[in-house]
Subunit: 430 residues, 2 copies
């Protein structure tokens, strides 16, 4: 095994020291994943994948969002797809991707098959997501810019070792798992904006389950296929940032920096909405708002006058006007054609300007509000600035409650924090 693979394999197979904060953030991501998955279970892509799987009538090894159960590989495919359908799940900027949707569906399926306690699910998921992030760092921005969807590519490696941990693989087995999944880790950014994007996440989760099930049975692969010559990195425009990828491995949990989405719209709009939250503004006072944002977002989410709920999710002017008018940008049903047609919103939107600013990073936004009384307030927000843990917990739980109701949120949170079994969580996916 070459260096990255051997280090990741040893890390994934060995004992780990988790901190209270890493455990809390993992539980928050699990709750967040559960909530966005359940909220997305009736999306068209969710129904399509579920239907394909159910027609196969396999053993009910693992539960699916939306109800029913299927073999582990299929459950992981469906749940990975479904939980990314709304694009409302967590993001890790170093990964570059969404760690939860590739890893949780895979570990939960295998844990349910083996009737494991949730504490093992959470530890395996944390280890797996840490590996996704480390592989993502190793592949680097070049891999992403070339066109690979890191959620799925780097994510497949994390999913595979997370599942491998649940079945007790030692470093050798983990090396096999990393080598084998290298031959099928895939996913193109060309699918962004289509059902192919969430499907990519499902593919990664399912690949994680499948390669472990093969290696369990004695499958022999090339353990150097991640980083060897002709390996995944070499063939997929990886940058090979070895030092960065291994820095602090085992001592530091990069996963803790994961960012949860608190608005049900394009991530490019979140920093501006968070800045607005700090200014405590209401529509009647506003004379004018100016948003400054990284130039990259101008072509992504700066629709000036959308007329549909979907369009609103990609419009600085619309979401800021919604916020000022008291609409809850965390709720899925706030983004509607009706809100886009509201004369008050249209009037306010006309007083909002969006400007590109090279001096800002992609996770920053600056807001300047001029009030009718001539006073001006300004705020800058950076999504990468860590939230206090108590605030994160409060906000993730509040978001979940808006998506799946307060009672189920409390129930799931209690399971995650006090240690139920995998099946207890899985049976609640419906």
């Amino acid at each position: 095994m070459t260096q990255l693979t051997s280090q990741l394999a040893a890390f994934a197979a060995g004992p780990v020291t988790t901190t209270a904060s890493a455990r809390l953030v993992t539980s928050l991501s699990a709750l967040d994943w559960f909530a966005v998955g359940q909220a997305g279970q009736d999306e068209p892509v969710s129904k399509i994948v579920r239907d394909m799987v159910f027609v196969e009538q396999g053993a009910g090894q693992a539960h699916l969002f939306g109800g029913g159960a299927a073999p582990g590989r299929s459950a992981a495919l469906a749940n990975g797809t479904i939980s990314h359908a709304l694009d409302y799940d967590d993001t890790h900027f170093a990964h570059i991707g969404h760690p939860s949707v590739a890893v949780f569906p895979a570990v939960l399926a295998m844990a349910e098959m083996r009737d494991l306690p949730l504490v093992e699910v959470l530890e395996a998921a944390l280890v797996g997501m840490e590996v996704s992030i480390r592989v993502g760092l190793w592949l680097g921005r070049g891999h992403y810019q070339t066109g690979f969807h890191q959620t799925a590519t780097a994510g497949a490696f994390g999913a595979a070792v997370a599942v491998g941990r649940l079945v007790g693989f030692q470093a050798d087995g983990m090396g096999q798992v990393l080598g084998l999944v290298a031959t099928r880790a895939a996913g193109l950014k060309a699918q962004f904006g289509t059902m192919g994007k969430p499907y990519n996440a499902g593919l990664a989760a399912s690949a994680g389950v499948e390669v472990v099930q093969l290696v369990q049975r004695g499958f022999q692969a090339n353990a150097d296929a991640l980083e060897g010559s002709f390996g995944f990195g070499a063939t997929h425009h990886g940058e090979g940032n070895l030092e960065e990828a291994l820095d602090g491995l085992g001592n530091e949990w990069l996963f803790e920096a994961v960012s949860h989405k608190f608005h049900a719209c394009c991530h490019g709009l979140h920093a501006a909405l968070e800045a607005a939250r700090t200014l405590d503004i209401a529509e009647p006072e506003i004379a004018e708002i100016t948003v400054r944002t990284h130039p990259r977002w101008m072509s992504v989410c700066n629709q000036p006058t959308p007329t549909t709920g979907l369009g609103a999710k990609f419009s600085y002017r619309t979401v800021l006007a919604m916020h000022a008018l008291g609409h809850d940008t965390a709720r899925l049903d706030s983004y509607s054609d009706a809100v886009c047609a509201d004369p008050r919103l249209i009037a306010l939107r006309g007083r909002i300007n969006v400007e590109a600013d090279e001096s800002l990073t992609e996770t920053q936004a600056h807001l300047s509000i001029l009030r009718r009384d001539g006073s001006r307030s300004e705020a800058t927000h950076d999504l990468q600035a860590p939230l206090p843990l108590a605030t994160r917990e409060e906000r993730v739980r509040t978001k979940a409650a808006k998506l799946i109701g307060g009672a189920l949120t409390d129930e799931v949170w209690s399971l995650l924090r006090t240690g139920g079994r995998a099946a207890d969580l899985a049976e609640r996916l419906a």
Copy 2:
């Protein structure tokens, strides 16, 4: 849809004019695929994949090599893997890959699910394999040299449209299928020499079935994800040989140039063995043999003194000595540890020289035999030189009979040529 995709989609969805020779060669590849698959059903990788699939207890939609049935996606995964396990299936040098093992498992699974006649299976397979070859040409040698296993990458596109044809997709649906499979077509050459190589073929076949089942249900993908910006070609070191890929599409069947393996050893040895066949030599006469071959093969299949049956499959000197001693190089059981230890073979092997020759292509070999009486015979063979159709038929049927017996060979050949149903063939996979 961009140009390659739109042309391939129209071709795959439309009426095609098949020639008698294209139909015959397709039937020969079907028989060859059937025989090598059945002969490989007890290989370790075959047992592993079959076991994983059967544990899932899904609906018996399609039969597997080795017996039993499973959902279509799983049957394609298993049969693709099993039929490539021996690496004894057909090769297309322009593709660069093995067309049958990605496409036949996929079409047969879907055809059995829909109870279609074999004539439709064969036409869809021909169309699919032609698309694999055209995509392979478009990706070019650069894609292969970078480290991609074209059997699996280009093969997934062929498998997908072949299955799409069986369900009656028009050009739009075919575009969706090509675009969706682009996000999961994968397979690394880093797996060569491991179980990962046949698994790659299974992945391609299974992907073909899965994407069609999704598009049938209304899945929306980016139809330009094969060749658009950030598409499969752009991200996977494709050369983009558009003219070459589309030249003669619909009028000319590049598939007809497929090459069947008539020796159960590394393809690099076949030209030399074919040259030896023309010289009618027997061991007692031989003073010395000199083989000249393309330099590339010197590091692939020039083991000087192997001691195992597996090693013999990668040794010019051993297979030529086996041939001269009357061992049948088409039979799997000819390659044994015992034959490597035979003093007569060891003595003859010592009189065989292997030389690299830059002037030969990779498919050519030159043989020079010096007899004890001082006479010398020479022969050159090129695997790309077309065999007369009658010879091809005779040799493929003879090979099949050696692998699965004459009675079953005749039965399958009769089904393929006189038009049974898909289920008739599928039920004989066991």
